[in-house]
């Protein structure tokens, strides 16, 4: 069974390119356009990994991840943060939000795929196509 990834970004183009890269690599992808939608979708779909933008309407990526840590079922889901902000997130805050990696925008889709593979690595490799 392929791994399931939730991607959240308010920039449609970014959402599109990340989803495509992951789908092409054989992942199942869900998308959300704001923090609130990301929280709802994550709770409903229980993905294996969350990729989220930092700055999003209604609820930021960080707020959404913190919210998910309060939910028993979504607590353990690792997350990758994409950010165009020039600051580093505090290590304590990263741990609190369950952020495994931060990728700065502009990012490389290849790099995102590598990180996703690394973080969802299990005995079986994701199915291609």
């Amino acid at each position: 069974m392929s791994k399931r990834i939730l991607v959240a970004d308010d920039e449609a183009h970014i959402l599109h390119v990340v989803s495509m890269k992951l789908r092409n690599a054989g992942y199942e992808v869900f998308t959300a356009v704001d923090g609130e939608e990301a929280v709802e979708l994550a709770a409903a779909e229980l993905p294996d990994l969350i990729i989220t933008d930092y700055q999003m309407p209604i609820m930021t990526g960080l707020e959404a991840l913190k919210e998910l840590r309060r939910n028993e079922q979504t607590r353990g889901v690792p997350a990758i943060m994409l950010t165009a902000r020039g600051f580093d997130i505090e290590p304590a805050e990263m741990a609190e939000a369950g952020i495994a990696a931060v990728l700065a925008k502009p990012f490389s889709p290849r790099e995102v795929l590598e990180k996703v593979a690394e973080l969802t690595q299990t005995a079986e490799t994701p199915l291609a196509g």
Partner: protein
Amino acid sequence: MTTAKRLGLATMALISLGASAAYYATMMAMQGQRPHGGLNFLVLGLVTCLTALVLLVFWRSVHRSVRMIASQLESMARSKQLGLVMVQGSDELAQITRPLNEFLTATKMQVEQLRSENRELQIQSRIAAAEKHHTEAIIFSISDAVIVTNRFDELILANEAAEKLLGFRLAGSLRKNIDRILSDGTLVRLIRETRSHGRNFTRKVVEHSIDQKGTPKTFSVTLSCVVTDNEEVSGVVAVLHDVTREKEIAKMKTDFVSNVSHELKTPLASIKAYIEMLQDGEADDEQTQREFYDIISSETDRLHRLIENILNISRIESGVVKVVKEPTSLTGVVKQVLDVARPQAKNKSQHLVERLAPIYYQIEADHDMIYQAVMNLVSNAIKYTPENGSVTVSVTVDERRGVVVCDVADTGAGIPAEDLPRIFDKFYRVRNNNKLAKGTGLGLTLVKHIVETVHDGKLTVTSEQDKGSTFSFELPLLA
């Protein structure tokens, strides 16, 4: 000859005369002759007259000298000028005047010296008073709060700014210890520390926060010791400079840079990602490839627009933008904008309504800038209005007030009341409307600058959520 000697001689002459008379009378008596009664009386009368004459002469001479001295002393008293006492002759009175004159001369010199010292002191005191007025004028005209204390930490001077900031009245606080005047414990401590550190400690600047009418303000407090000529600390001067605005500006600058980089990185991220996708052959069919090229192209345009907007705003803000103002018809400009915007509105099946004043009303304006402002307002209205909605653009002339008013009204998403005050801020975007359309958060900032900074007009907005917004600006009508 002195009066005493003269008096002695006269007395001796009178005594010998009296003695001769007595001897003559005795001789006569011894010879049994009765002295001639007439002669006796003659002698007695002669002696008495002579005595009276001598006394008169002496009295007159003494009286003249005394009068002379008295009149000279009186005239000195009248003129309040010390001089010398002059007496004719060389009698005792003349002798008395010598030490008197010496005393008078010495006194006169002393008085002169005291007078000149007094004059000098008066001049110094006038200079000191003038200097004090100068110092006060300087301190009172400073907009920073200034407090001056003495070596006992008592308030000796403060200006109006200090009174207002720290809430005391100078009149009732002079010579009182600062801990009784100032409620701000930190400031009292700072002044005391400065004074007690003494002359080794000349000046320091401390940042200190003071609550002013409920809002915290940041002050830079400069403390310096007043050191006397013999190097003793005679007091402290504290100057409180409000740096709240400077800090705000510094923060705004940091925020601006952070916002700019974020806004620039967003389209850049898309461009980079799609190029990499094409390079990696992730877009296998021609249609997807075309789609990717289109995205790269549109994101490049977005980046370009963003840079243009940032440059325009910063040019206007720094006043280096070239403004060419000439008689322009606002109706004419609006017509040009509507011609360009009509296809966009048509795409969304929106009604684009125009209510325009006659074209001959003119304003003094930079055509390109006003075009940009109207375009930004109209394209915003179209962007945030759903399909089948309507956008109404009107130009009205208020001849009484001498202004032309342009209203751009839509039936779109509207702006939440809490966002309204901030929509003209750089990079500010209404969060809920983010999904409706892309934007840089610079369009309205630019409109505000064009209307208000460049053309001395006024831009206002009214809005109701889910009903729509109306942006209006007015510019002075060219007479």
